[in-house]
Symmetry: C2
Subunit: 363 residues, 2 copies
């Protein structure tokens, strides 16, 4: 076992021992933890992230309303300790569900019936123990690719991400265990679209501009958020986010910077306060004459824009409010790929180079 | 330009020259091609694939109903020749749409208004010229990962897919241009789920069993189908498909083997007649006692199963009809991840090893 595994295992054992102690003392076993529900999610002005507040709850074994969830949490903790940490293996959320889906001995009652139950138990354990899901060896989506002057170690292999053709390195679901051996770059460019990534890979944009390029497809996975955060913190590199000019693209940036309600309890390990938005901005539409490429908003787009405009962290930000106002006026969106209308490599040769040279970022 | 690019360029030039010839002779320019609509899609018993029939159609310039599509086809051909093949660059379907979305000079009419129009033009050109979309440098989804004893060349880089940790090689959207330098494996295992891929990667299944493991997420992309077909044909390796025990999983296998209606015109370049289905079969549910892991069918599942049962290529296949009958009886599905309930590495150590040793395949 690695030191990290031992630490995680000890945290889970400590959780278990406290329960055994209570039993030994003839008490009703009780688990205390910070509440994760909406009423306890706050926007912390100091760290500028979504976080959990101070409200705590407890779950006790001899309480009809609590006992099943209590059991689920203990069962999942036991699976994580025995099957994952002690073997050094990792398992996906869906696999943990199947591993915990067994009957309570002597009954016909399942410990869990639905994945949401084991998922919630894992989140409980994150809050109770302070361990991240990744530290407990529980993974989720494998998604995304990376190319750039990054030499990393993954499971004993030394991988040079500048020598992987146009395909690149396939990012694993858990990126906490990757070790950066050497990084030579001025910044990281993260984009929501794999097609943009392929354009930049073919143009060797990363090589010409000393950049690391990373993509997922749509919403950023937890693994990629951790990867970006680690490069930002450990290597002190700026992270630029390239998304569509629409509320959905802007929200991708918002989650990377400020966190999300669903993962507010994990903000510290996932958010990147100094990440910057590189485009597509509403100013770009004018500057690069993309008006002909506008796509009319749907009602869904309009509702989403309204929601984002009202977010606490955007509400008093003049630059962002200006963007939202322009977007509302346009009542339309522009996709990253619209830049192709200006020339196949316009994005690599002109757009991104200018943006970075002139520091045209939104913060 | 590479030889391949020159050949593709010549094909497109030939297409253009024929039109110019007609104009020079004072004729109404006309494009003839095999029809791609449903009435001309047949299941070819000899090749056992979905193919286009003999029906042809034509499109002429001086025909009000044809002229716009005629123009679109010529415009897209011109973009592909000038912007892609002559520069050696590649562009995604969405990018081609934006590149062709301009007004007809002197009018307010757009050449294309919607991506479906440029997409259809590209399909037209595939049928007219005999070139694949990939040969015309047009790409679509980048998806999936590969690990195994494969040394390949991608854009000048030599990549050893056995030394890429647990992440692996990120498969590009176009795999036609990859060059296999050395492959040392007994078979390829293709799976629909990236989580299964991560399990096998962590267990070094590929190393212990001399296998190449490949995954996408859900439906198989054209790039991965080409990759599998090339390994099958060029390296003469068996391809095994691992999917969920449900109509959707079975359909993934069906497409890889027999083709699909949407891409019937490209079957020759995509289907793999000797691919084998490794699981999850309905027999596995009994053999490996997965009954507790069954998930009840929805109405959608039932309808889909009925459709697949009636497919021409399955209709007289006793083994498959037996599967469909059992599945209908179960009225439930089993996911690959359900194998985790038997132990975290049960799939790597027992299930797949047994299946391959005993040649428990469906054909």
């Amino acid at each position: 076992m690695t030191k990290k595994q031992i630490k995680s295992k000890e945290e889970l054992e400590f959780f278990g021992k406290k329960l055994v102690d209570q039993v030994d003392k003839g008490k009703n076993p009780e688990i205390k933890f910070t509440l994760r529900n909406l009423s306890n999610i706050v926007f912390d002005k100091k760290s500028e992230t979504l976080k959990l507040g101070d409200k705590t709850g407890s779950r006790s074994f001899f309480n009809v309303a609590h006992s099943k969830k209590f059991l689920q949490t203990v069962e999942v903790a036991s699976i994580i300790k025995k099957e994952l940490l002690e073997s050094g293996k990792h398992e996906h959320l869906r696999g943990i569900f199947y591993m915990s889906k067994r009957t309570i001995p002597g009954t016909n009652v399942n410990i869990v019936d639905d994945q949401i139950e084991s998922d919630k138990s894992i989140e409980d354990l994150e809050v109770i123990t302070g361990l991240s899901r990744e530290q407990m060896h529980v993974s989720a989506n494998k998604m995304g690719s990376m190319i750039g002057n990054v030499i990393l170690e993954d499971s004993g292999d030394t991988i040079d991400c500048s020598k992987l053709g146009k395909g690149g390195y396939s990012i694993p679901s858990i990126t906490d265990e990757l070790e950066f051996k050497k990084i030579k770059a001025k910044y990281v460019l993260y984009m929501e679209k794999a097609s943009t990534f392929e354009r930049l890979a073919e143009d060797k944009f990363w090589d010409k501009n000393d950049a690391i390029i990373i993509t997922s497809q749509g919403q950023t996975t937890r693994g990629i958020r951790r990867l970006l955060q680690r490069i930002s913190e450990e290597e002190n590199l700026p992270i630029y986010v390239l998304v569509d000019n629409d509320p959905w693209g802007y929200y991708i940036y918002s989650v990377i910077k400020y966190g999300s309600i669903a993962l507010a309890f994990a903000s510290e390990r996932l958010t990147i306060p100094n990440v910057k938005f590189i485009g597509i901005s509403c100013d770009d539409i004018i500057k690069y004459d993309l008006k002909r490429q506008l796509i009319k908003f749907t009602d869904q787009d309009r509702t989403r824009l309204k929601q984002i405009t009202d977010y606490e962290w955007f509400r008093n930000n003049k630059d962002w409010q200006r963007q939202f106002k322009m977007m509302k006026y346009n009542d339309s969106k522009v996709e990253i790929q619209a830049l192709s209308s200006k020339g196949i490599s316009f994005i690599s040769d002109i757009y991104l180079v200018n943006k970075i040279k002139n520091k045209e970022f939104l913060d």
